[in-house]
């Protein structure tokens, strides 16, 4: 069951203030990923304080520090925007659902994925390093 919007709004704004576009409907997702060209990052947001609470600032650090960055930045909110999240995951192929997680797509295919188990217990700086490695490998 989704949490009250008032409670999750700051978690959404952590990303939107970075220029990450929220995809809140199936139509939003299809418009963004249906004929995706170039590179696109999809951040699957979550209310989980232990993991997402570090992942969001980790993304901020990566975007601030990275010379190479994805062409487009998107987010869906797991547990909140249910249909949009399910639709986004349909573009992730055989990668299993978890939240928070980060998919890096290139021309419609997932080329790198950071799962929840790669986020848990790590600080924002460690998560940023992982994201920067993904950007360096695929976003030049």
């Amino acid at each position: 069951m989704p949490y009250p919007e008032l409670m999750v709004r700051p978690m959404r704004e952590d990303l939107t203030r970075l220029g990450v576009k929220e995809l809140k409907t199936v139509e939003d997702v299809d418009a963004a990923l249906g004929d995706q060209q170039g590179t696109a990052l999809v951040f699957v947001n979550s209310v989980c304080g232990c993991a997402a609470g570090a992942a969001r600032p980790g993304l901020m650090m990566a975007l601030e520090q990275g010379a190479a960055k994805p062409d487009a930045l998107y987010t869906v909110f797991a547990g909140q925007d249910l249909d949009a999240t399910s639709r986004a995951r349909s573009y992730f192929g055989e990668y299993q659902p978890s939240s928070p997680s980060v998919a890096l797509m290139k021309d419609g295919e997932v080329v790198a994925f950071m799962h929840r188990h790669q986020i848990e217990g790590r600080g924002p700086d460690q998560i940023a390093q992982g994201l920067l490695a993904m950007f360096e490998a695929h976003c030049r």
Binding site: M7, G49, H117
Partner: protein, 87 residues
């Protein structure tokens, strides 16, 4: 940045962490640790390998993620053989 307000200070340190639980039966369980109770370990979104060397299976899960075969599963106390973090 918001502070990630949903933290569970009443849970043990592995709460919410993805772990590998070794079963005395030879099964291997991967999923998020919820809590340990008298009846056993409660896990969420769990994949289970029934038998055999788990190395290749774990490597696949590390790359593609953990398929949530069981939304919730209890590893009985007498089956519990050990736990380590996954990832």
């Amino acid at each position: 940045m918001s502070d990630g307000i949903l933290k569970h200070h009443d849970r043990d340190e592995l709460h919410g962490i993805t772990v590998v639980v070794s079963g005395k039966s030879g099964r291997t369980y991967v999923g998020r640790w919820h809590e340990r109770q008298a009846r056993g370990v409660v896990m969420r979104d769990v994949a289970v390998l029934e038998s055999g060397d788990p190395a290749d299976w774990l490597a696949k899960l590390a790359r593609f993620g953990v398929p949530p075969e069981h939304r919730m599963l209890v590893v009985p106390e007498d089956e519990f053989g050990g736990v380590r973090r996954f990832g």
